[in-house]
């Protein structure tokens, strides 16, 4: 699986799915007009990668805003990750939120409830 890199726009996050390195990053804001169209190919690529290899995988999610469609898309991305972890793969999801951003932190805590096999880390980022 090749690396997927999509630059951020005002409505969609930066995507850097470096499958060979086992490092996936989503960063920015996410409220695309058609969330399914944006996240669909990413989900497919992730599934493909999970089927192919068995190396460790780290997923960094650093979103300062996402709408409910994107939340649903994130949930869809997290499910196969949790399933792969359940099958013994080393999967870490790092939920990055800005210091004091309670809304995003809370959303992260909500997502954490979906994981029991994969590691889900809450990472507070201090303002640079």
């Amino acid at each position: 699986m090749d690396r997927i890199q999509i630059p951020a726009t005002s409505r969609s996050p930066l995507v850097d799915f470096d499958f060979p390195a086992g490092r996936l990053v989503l960063r920015g804001e996410s409220y695309p007009e058609d969330a399914a169209a944006f996240y669909g190919p990413l989900l497919q690529a992730l599934r493909g990668h999970l089927d192919e290899g068995d190396g460790p995988l780290t997923v960094d999610v650093a979103l300062s805003y996402f709408n409910s469609s994107s939340a649903k898309a994130l949930m869809n991305l997290f499910m196969p990750l949790e399933d792969a972890a359940g099958e013994g793969r080393d999967v870490t999801v790092r939920w990055l939120y800005a210091e004091g951003d309670d809304t995003i932190a809370e959303a992260g805590e909500d997502f954490a409830a979906d994981f029991s096999h994969a590691r889900f880390e809450m990472v507070q980022e201090t303002a640079a």
Partner: protein, 555 residues
């Protein structure tokens, strides 16, 4: 018939005189006046450039005329000068030869006279005279004695013009006393010299002509190569530029223009570049304006259509009457992000209880609005046909209805993966209770200085089943009549802004609500809306907003 005569008369009049002949039309060529056609401008003489005007003018003053003019002006001067110089040289030459011939003739005469200066010369002159006759130019000689009578003559006595001969005489010494013994007169022909001079003149004339011809040819060639050809290129380019074909002049090549024309051509090229970029900018601007116009029109159509859709969506929302007769002190905020949206609310008093529903369908704009119609239809069936009054039952039924309507069963292909967050309140004023159930949507209760947030289930309604959905649980709150209850979509709290560019969050919203808790309900909602806008600042809104606020009034 009469018309024809009039026409002829009119034509004759117009042809006859320009003054008082009425307006001249373009077709009336007054050829008989010897006038060439002059382009007339009808717009008061503002001589706008017409395509081809320049070329026409240039053709009228044939460029070959330049070489012609130079030749006509210069060649007579050069010819006269060359001719004059050569003639003067020939004339001096001729004079010199005449003089030398005269001196030779004198010498011959002197020598013969000296040879004859003997006492008996009258008897023995023969051989000397014969010797004179041997000279090729000899014409005539006469010997006279001391008294002047002719002793002997040789040759023919010349007649006619004297410039064709050289005549000299010499005295024969040896007479009585100092007197000469006789005289010799010698005439030599100068015809040879004259013929010589004439030949030379013809040669000079011929040489001059050849010189002038060579000069003319060289001039013409040089002018054609370095002046006419570059000018012609310039003119061609000008003609093309007139038709907005942005041609520039090539300044290199074998037909290199003279410096002045090269300067003009370079200036012309710069001018063309300027015109071209100006014209391109004008074209781009026109293109841009046209595109902008089309976009504006398309946008206008879309906005018009959306405006219409908004009226329909508003008609599906509870009207003012439903809100007035809800049995509650109630205020609403409904503001889609793009004219129409996916946020929806329902307020209705049925069977002594008030049912308040707030829903946030996935997406906003038109797709969101489609989903709200499904929700509205489903709620109508659930509340009116099926008569469900429990929030958890209502949400469960809504979940089923949406999933069925959107073909989201696991085995169905081609269905959507959309859904909604939803919160339902059932307020029973007689019992003093509020029943709440939520799916992805929380209830906010403001009581005194405290803000309580009651979360519903994390997952929303609809969507394809993942098998991880929690059961929808209902919560019952006792009411004491001091509470203000808010049911709102996440668009209200998800306001990006502030100094740190961060989401306001439900805590931020709670702070605002607390700040305005003493205002009447409508005022509180209006103040919230103002404060949200203040938080956003220059940031745009991210989502639709819907909020229903109510204060249960004890009956």
């Amino acid at each position: 018939m009469s018309g024809e005569i009039l026409d002829q008369a009119g034509g004759a009049r117009r042809g006859g005189s320009l003054r008082g002949a009425g307006p001249l039309r373009r077709g009336d060529a007054p050829t008989d006046l010897g006038l060439t056609e002059v382009p007339t401008t009808r717009d008061g003489g503002a001589d706008t450039m017409r395509p081809g005007a320049l070329r026409g003018a240039a053709r009228g003053r044939n460029l070959d005329g330049l070489a012609h003019t130079l030749f006509l002006r210069l060649s007579p001067v050069i010819a006269a000068l060359v001719l004059l110089t050569q003639v003067a040289i020939a004339w001096v030459n001729y004079g010199d030869q005449i003089r030398i011939e005269g001196e030779r003739a004198q010498m011959m005469a002197d020598m013969t006279a000296r040879a004859l200066s003997r006492p008996d010369w009258t008897a023995s002159y023969g051989p000397s005279l014969q010797a004179l006759g041997l000279d090729p130019t000899f014409r005539f000689a006469v010997l006279r004695d001391g008294t002047g009578s002719v002793v002997a003559r040789l040759g023919e006595e010349p007649r006619g013009r004297n410039f064709e001969r050289v005549q000299v005489s010499a005295e024969i010494a040896g007479g009585a006393g100092d007197r000469p013994a006789g005289s010799l007169t010698l005439v030599l022909s100068a015809e040879g010299l004259r013929a010589n001079a004439e030949k030379q003149f013809v040669m000079v004339l011929g040489a001059s002509l050849v010189l002038i011809l060579a000069f003319a040819l060289a001039l013409r060639l040089a002018v054609r190569r370095h002046v006419l050809a570059p000018l012609d290129r310039l003119l061609t380019a000008m003609g093309r530029v007139e038709r907005k074909d942005w041609a520039v002049v090539d300044l290199a090549g074998s037909r290199r223009p003279s410096r002045e024309i090269a300067d003009i051509s370079a200036a012309f090229n710069r001018m063309v570049e300027g015109l071209k970029s100006g014209d391109e900018a004008r074209h781009l601007l026109a293109e841009l304006e046209r595109t902008h116009g089309q976009l504006a029109e398309a946008n206008g159509l879309v906005m018009e259509s959306l405006g219409y859709a908004r009226r329909i969506q508003q008609a599906v929302l509870p009207g003012p009457d439903a809100l007035r007769h809800s049995g509650l002190d109630l205020a609403v905020l409904w503001e889609p992000l793009h004219v129409v949206g996916g946020d929806y609310f329902w307020v209705e008093e049925i069977d002594g209880v008030t049912i308040v529903v707030v829903a946030d369908c996935t997406g906003h704009g038109v797709p969101g609005a489609f989903l709200t119609l499904i929700v509205a239809t489903a709620l109508d069936r659930i509340l009116h046909d099926r008569g469900l009054r429990e929030p958890d039952a209502i949400l469960g039924a809504l979940d089923e209805a949406v999933r069925g309507r959107l073909r989201q069963a696991a085995d169905e292909a081609g269905g959507s993966d959309d859904g909604l967050d939803c919160g339902v309140c059932v307020v029973d004023r007689s019992a003093g209770t509020l029943h709440f159930a939520g799916a992805g949507l929380a209830l906010t209760v403001l009581s005194g200085d405290a803000v309580t947030r009651i979360k519903g289930r994390r997952h929303g309604l609809g969507y394809r089943l993942t098998g991880r959905e929690e059961v929808i649980a209902e919560k019952v709150l006792p009411l004491d009549g001091t509470e203000t209850v808010f049911l709102m979509t996440d668009g209200v709290s998800d306001q990006m802004g502030g100094a740190s560019r961060r989401l306001l969050g439900h805590r931020g919203v709670a702070e605002i609500l607390l700040r305005h808790r003493n205002l009447p309900l409508a005022g509180q909602v209006a103040a919230l809306e103002r404060d949200l806008a203040a938080h956003r600042g220059s940031e745009p809104r991210r989502d639709d907003m819907a909020l229903v606020a109510f204060r249960p009034v004890r009956t």
